[in-house]
């Protein structure tokens, strides 16, 4: 009797074990990636929607089983825009055995690039600094670099200036590696023949009043200001310019200043911050599609935001798009590797990213061009779109473009 009981128990245990393994096999693999960014602290107005974009898209991938039975885990950590914390987060992610890493700031990307190289891990940062690509093989810029953006805006200014002589331009930069990123390339482009007169380069502080700077611009005859910073300082500057009646009502209006901005220095969030100072005639460039214009990208983004309980403001935020886009690229890379029956490793994902070109280019719906990467080109979306604000919304100006002078100076 006792032997019979033992036998029954053994069978039951064996069944449980087999069932356990079977469930595990059905559950599939778990792929891990990490994202460290400024959810709080400086630039958190960019980091917070960015994090939500990536978070929502990863949830969507798992909920909709876009990777089949496999699961994607994305660790999202706040680093408060401090490189030391970013490094700690990165080490933590490595301990978790991530296969893909999403970084954020220019400073931390530059500081950690040796680690990325040694770990041979593909990295997509939120920083579009062209310098990230130097001395490193594993960093991929999601869209056109800050240099392409700033020089592209300067090219637009040179081509569309109505007055006599060269247009007088000032650069308004964030006092960090991020802000300074395009500075030298703009200078090089001017030296290479770009028809603008670069009057002043200003690194802004935390001032709440820019009267002195704006008056100085006026006295020097500045007609265009190109901003490479985040939205709050641009909003402060625009409000100051508005109170001094210095904002051009039409592009290049004589005696007034036309304001232009790179990706992080514009968008719907800027209009929210600056109000009427930014809702007319602010020129802005990015590689992302505008979520105020109808299209499949906008519909998909709005649906995603609604699905995960995000408000309307976030749904339209360009940095929400930004976060979604980098997660999209990471997921697409994993999906392609899986489709080829490869085991998902850092090396495989790296190779897969490098193969993302030609017929294998990736259309994200949220960008103005396809994402293309290769051994010689690690800037994702090469084209930029110029937008202008009208009635608080941004509208396309012309067709997507690429900076000619950036190509020239890189040769």
């Amino acid at each position: 009797m006792k032997n019979k009981q033992v036998t029954v128990m053994r069978i039951a245990l064996s069944f449980l074990l087999v069932a356990g393994f079977a469930v595990q096999a059905v559950a599939g693999e778990t792929y891990k990636m990490g994202l460290s960014l400024a959810i709080t602290g400086p630039t958190s107005d960019v980091g917070s929607p960015y994090a939500k974009g990536a978070e929502d898209y990863v949830k969507y991938v798992n909920d909709e089983k876009l990777l089949g039975d496999d699961k994607l885990v994305c660790f999202i950590r706040d680093d408060g825009y401090k490189t030391e914390i970013t490094k700690r987060n990165f080490e933590d992610f490595l301990d978790e055995e991530i296969v893909f890493y999403l970084n954020y700031s220019t400073g931390s990307t530059m500081a950690l690039r040796q680690d990325f190289q040694e770990e041979q891990i593909p990295v997509l940062p939120a920083s579009f600094h062209a310098g990230n690509l130097e001395g490193n093989d594993y960093i991929f810029l999601p869209i056109a670099s800050y240099s392409s953006q700033a020089v592209g805006l300067a090219e637009y200014v040179a081509a569309n200036h109505k007055g006599s002589g060269k247009p007088k331009v000032a650069l308004f930069l964030h006092p960090s590696a991020f802000g300074r990123a395009p500075r030298d390339d703009v200078k090089k482009s001017v030296a290479a023949g770009l028809g603008i007169d670069l009057v002043e380069i200003v690194e802004h502080g935390k001032d709440l009043d820019n009267t002195a700077m704006l008056k100085r611009f006026q006295s020097k005859g500045v007609q265009y200001v190109i901003s490479q910073t985040v939205q709050p300082p641009v909003a402060t500057m625009l409000k100051g310019a508005q109170s001094l009646d210095m904002i051009a009502k039409t592009y290049g209006e004589a005696g007034k200043i036309t304001f232009l901005g790179c990706h992080y220095g514009g968008g719907p969030a800027l209009v929210s911050l600056a109000g009427s100072a930014a809702d007319e005639n602010y020129y802005w460039t990015t590689s992302y599609k505008m979520m105020t214009a109808k299209g499949p990208g906008r519909d998909a983004q709005f649906a995603l935001a609604k699905r995960y309980g995000r408000d309307d403001k976030l749904a339209k935020d360009a940095n929400y798009t930004n976060g979604i886009m980098v997660a999209q690229v990471a997921v697409e890379t994993i999906r392609r590797a899986k489709a080829k029956g490869k085991k998902i490793t850092r090396a495989v994902l790296y190779e897969e990213l490098l193969a993302m070109n030609g017929f294998n280019a990736y259309n994200t719906l949220t960008t103005v061009g396809p994402v293309t990467f290769s051994k010689t080109d690690r800037e994702g979306v090469d084209t930029l779109q110029l937008y202008v604000s009208k009635g608080g919304l941004f509208y396309e100006v012309g067709a997507p473009f690429e900076s000619e002078y950036v190509k020239k100076i890189k040769q």
């Binding site: 959810i39 709080t40 958190s44 706040d78 408060g80 080490e91 933590d92 400073g107 530059m110 500081a111």
Partner: protein
């Protein structure tokens, strides 16, 4: 002091020599040795992730920096809120070599002990120069002088292209007898290096405080006129206190550069200077053990607050700004609470605990 060095219970001494012992009893020495053995041996038995090894290494580096600040502020009574700039001087000394000679120059990768020493010496020289105003200034005025140094340092680094305008300057991987220290061994290797430096410099500080040079610092702090009357030179003592603090900070800076494999401006801001001061206050100003407790307490607090702020930020997104404020709030609160309720710092709790065991079972 009791004749029985194992069972000493009181605080009475029969000679100056007895009073100046590093270890009052054999038990103290034994406990210290056991503690050291434990510190050296635990990584062999417990494997910690790189994140926590990085935190531990950072705490050890902060201990080296706080040694210097404690000598300056705790023992010599000269308040400095530019200590992170001194640490930065050490780090940027190494970074300057890397910029001029190359990131992987043999001097940086093979002669790293020498580079750490050189960074300390440069820190000491700059410390001595910055200490010159101490000849004429006291109290709040001296604080402003050190603050000025912090500002000048930040401005210099942030605007000079030689220092890459504060962006990271890379430092190459070092070599050991076994070859290049690879990424896998990096944190453990530096744990042992920094631990050895902490022990050696800790013993150096303990011995300094037993010497006339150490007692000079305390005498000048307590009453510089009286110290002058007794034949000491308060001016030189103050400058030398700054130089000492600069040396420790310079060593800490070089270690920081090697550990993080790069030097960036944002590790040496005014916020970091205040953090070092907070570590010295919370640990216990004017005590050697305070230099250990302070960095552990403040850096662990920062880590926990970070986790908490992250938690709040994720689950209560509407109050993200409050999460941003948690770090400075908790940090300030801890300093205020310590100043109000335990101005002698954690070192005093340690003293009470030791007294309890020393007198046990005869409590009074």
């Amino acid at each position: 002091m009791s004749e029985n060095r194992w069972m000493a219970t009181g605080n009475f001494f029969t000679s100056y020599k007895a009073e100046q012992r590093i270890f009052m009893t054999h038990i103290d020495r034994l406990v210290f040795i056991c503690f050291l053995v434990a510190l050296f041996a635990w990584p062999l038995f417990f494997k910690l992730g790189n994140k926590y090894m990085l935190v531990i290494d950072s705490i050890l580096i902060a201990i080296v920096a706080v040694y210097g600040l404690n000598l300056l502020t705790g023992f010599a009574g000269l308040i400095s809120i530019g200590h992170a700039a001194f640490v930065g001087v050490g780090a940027y000394t190494l970074a300057s070599f890397a910029t001029v000679l190359g990131t992987n120059h043999v001097l940086i990768t093979h002669w790293w002990p020498l580079m750490i020493l050189v960074s300390g010496v440069v820190g000491a020289v700059i410390g001595g120069i910055v200490g010159l105003p101490a000849l004429r200034l006291k109290h709040l005025y001296l604080v402003i002088a050190t603050l000025s140094f912090q500002m000048i340092f930040q401005w210099t680094i942030n605007f000079m292209t030689f220092f890459n305008q504060g962006q990271t300057i890379s430092i190459g991987r070092v070599f050991w007898f076994t070859g290049k220290v690879a990424r896998k061994q990096h944190y453990l290797f530096w744990y042992y290096v920094i631990l050895v430096i902490v022990v050696v410099l800790g013993l150096a500080v303990r011995n300094l405080l037993r010497s006339k040079h150490g007692r000079c610092l305390v005498a000048v702090r307590d009453n510089d006129r009286a110290a002058d009357a007794m034949g000491m030179n308060p001016g030189i003592t103050k400058v030398y206190a700054f130089a000492l603090a600069g040396f420790f900070a310079g060593v800490a800076g070089a270690l920081h550069a090697y550990l993080w494999r790069g030097v960036g401006f944002e590790s040496f801001t005014l916020h970091h200077s205040i953090s070092y001061l907070a570590m010295a206050i919370v640990g216990g100003l004017g005590t050697l053990v305070g230099s250990f407790f302070g960095p552990v307490a403040i850096l662990m607090l920062e880590l926990q607050v970070e986790h908490f702020a992250e938690f709040v930020g994720h689950y209560f997104t509407a109050i993200g700004d409050v999460a941003t404020a948690f770090r400075p709030l908790s940090f300030g609160l801890v300093i205020v609470l310590f100043l109000m309720f335990e101005p002698r710092g954690i070192a005093n709790w340690w003293r009470i605990t030791r007294s309890y065991f020393k007198l046990w079972p005869f409590r009074y």
